[in-house]
């Protein structure tokens, strides 16, 4: 059998196996790949993972197939001559050009695909820092209004809901600026709504990871890290800190839920009323706060920044108004 026949046989087997594996994966496994489809970001990230799998499977099959083929067909036979790599294996220009071309094209395609997915999906659920380049429609207006204290949100109006995530050793708390700025340990979100998470920290570096929402943003002290997602399924989700932050890091998690817009409205209004006695003692809502590094005897104060996403944020300790 000559070399051409080997290549033809290998290629045929590889194509058949790759197509079969990709189809099986795409239709049977793909819909169940994490992080699911609870938000548009989750759906998008699941799609990305599936595309990467579909690209990777033929590569994996190609390597394994070649290895298995070589072991079975080209291995030394008992009593026969030792196989030796011939001159053609080292100087085959066609093979070299094909290898460099194919791998280069795959890498460039992956880079382009990743970049497009990042831009089209408004950061793909990742924290974009205080000045997000890829904001969904209406986000900046909603955040500006929230900071000014006149933001609103109500069902069926397709409004962006700003939610502030405050990390501290060792728990996340959440402020809802469009509902009087109340703070709570519960994270409840309305369905079919674009959420603007504004993530910050009162002490060390944490990371807000809402796995099923496909949102992950670093929580840095005195930094507002903004991430977007749009809910599209009701149900529970998990929030974990994904930055090693001290002795109780493993306990820094909680469960949130996506509920219907009407239920969310009821929850927000009732929690705003229930927490009103404490909300009046909270500092005014701000994107970031200045923790007192002296330990126990210090509150946290708004940094005084008036403009969302401003590049000119100046952080300085402000004393409480009272």
């Amino acid at each position: 059998m000559n070399e051409t026949h080997h290549l033809r046989r290998l290629t045929t087997i590889w194509v058949v196996l790759s197509v079969a594996a990709d189809l099986l994966f795409w239709f049977l496994v793909g819909p169940h790949v994490p992080p699911g489809r609870m938000t548009d970001m989750a759906t998008s990230n699941q799609f990305d993972f599936n595309v990467l799998f579909v690209i990777a499977l033929p590569v994996l099959i190609g390597v394994w197939l070649y290895l298995a083929y070589a072991i079975v067909v080209w291995s030394a036979k008992r009593g026969g001559p030792e196989p030796v790599g011939g001159e053609a294996a080292r100087t085959n220009r066609t093979a070299q050009v094909a290898w460099i071309t194919i791998t280069s094209v795959v890498v460039i395609l992956l880079a382009a695909f990743g970049t497009i997915e990042l831009i089209v999906n408004h950061g793909s659920g990742g924290g974009e820092g205080p000045n997000p380049v890829w904001s969904p429609a209406g986000a900046t207006q909603a955040e500006t209004a929230a900071l000014a204290g006149n933001g609103t949100w109500s069902p069926n109006r397709n409004q962006v809901l700003p939610v502030q995530v405050i990390a501290q050793q060792w728990k996340f708390t959440y402020r809802y600026p469009t509902f009087g700025g109340f703070e709570t340990s519960q994270l409840v979100l309305p369905n079919n709504t674009t959420i603007a998470f504004n993530v910050t920290s009162l002490d060390v570096i944490h990371s807000f990871w809402a796995y099923q929402l496909s949102v992950k943003a670093d929580a840095n002290p005195q930094i507002n890290d903004v991430a977007f997602t749009k809910t599209q399924q009701t149900g529970p989700f998990t929030v974990r800190c994904s930055e090693l932050c001290g002795i109780w890091h493993g306990s820094m998690y909680n469960y949130g839920s996506v509920v219907s817009q009407q239920k969310f409205m009821q929850w927000a209004q009732s929690t705003e009323a229930a927490n009103a006695a404490n909300t009046k003692y909270l500092p005014p809502f701000a994107w970031t706060y200045v923790p007192d590094a002296n330990g126990a005897s210090g509150g946290y104060y708004p940094d005084g920044t008036a403009t969302p996403y401003s590049t000119a944020e100046i952080y300085g300790a402000k004393q409480p108004a009272s």
Binding site: T184, L202, D203, W248, N278, N294, G295, A296, G299, P320
Partner: protein, 227 residues
């Protein structure tokens, strides 16, 4: 030296190095006073409430870090104050908790922890007076909190006046100025639940969350809830 001898030497040195690394890691990870588990499952009839009494002191006064702030728990069998922060409790049972707060207070870093949450009736009692929210920027402020995040429990522990003759070293006696804070909560299903203070009271450490805040048996521990 023969090859066998060299091999044996290298093996011994390797084992010594591994031993030193393990010992160092263990010493780093368990710097607190070795503590046991305070068992509250045998102190009352099944289904009856558990009475749990603790005190918070500005300085523990003994052990490896005598100047560190700490919780102490009253042993239900001997009535002695013990530095254990892992408490074994029966599941789905009411716990009547009494905190003798001997430490001073101040403004909370996050006033969210000034709100009583997760107790039965959503309130706690300060020297016999019910409260559900405490403005930590006024009065003596909040000295510590008792919080079990996984079950949504948080109680701010109001500080004593800094001008008083504050107890200098634990265990403190009730003759020293203190606040008595009582509340009740229900234990969840069996499991291990961490509890902690949310006041960064590790003075001298970055953001106040090192030292006693980052060492078990001082300002945090576990509720070991069993059937």
């Amino acid at each position: 030296m023969s090859i066998r001898g060299r091999f044996a030497t290298v093996a011994v040195l390797f084992l010594v190095a591994v031993g030193l690394i393990v010992w160092s890691l263990m010493a780093f990870l368990t710097p607190g006073t070795p503590g046991g588990v305070m068992d509250f499952t045998t102190t009352q009839a099944p289904g009856q409430p558990v009475n749990l009494t603790v005190q918070t002191v500005g300085a523990i006064g003994f052990g490896k870090h005598p100047t560190w702030v700490s919780y102490l728990v009253k042993d239900p069998h001997t009535q002695q104050w013990v530095q254990d922060t892992t408490w074994k409790l029966p599941a789905n049972t009411v716990v009547n908790m009494t905190v003798l707060q001997y430490d001073t207070g101040g403004p909370l870093r996050n006033q969210e922890w000034g709100q009583v949450q997760g107790t039965i009736n959503g309130t706690a009692s300060l020297n016999g007076k019910s409260y559900s929210v405490y403005d930590s920027n006024t009065g003596n402020g909040v000295g510590h909190t008792f919080a079990v995040p996984a079950i949504g429990l948080n109680v701010p522990l109001i500080g004593v006046s800094a001008n008083a003759q504050v107890c200098g070293a634990g265990p403190c006696h009730t003759s020293s100025p203190h606040n008595t804070i009582t509340f009740s909560f229900k234990t969840p299903t069996p499991g291990s639940y961490s509890w902690q203070c949310f006041v960064p009271c590790g003075l001298g450490y970055l953001f106040g969350n090192g030292g006693p805040m980052a060492t078990q048996n001082y300002m945090g521990g576990f509720l070991e809830v069993v059937r």
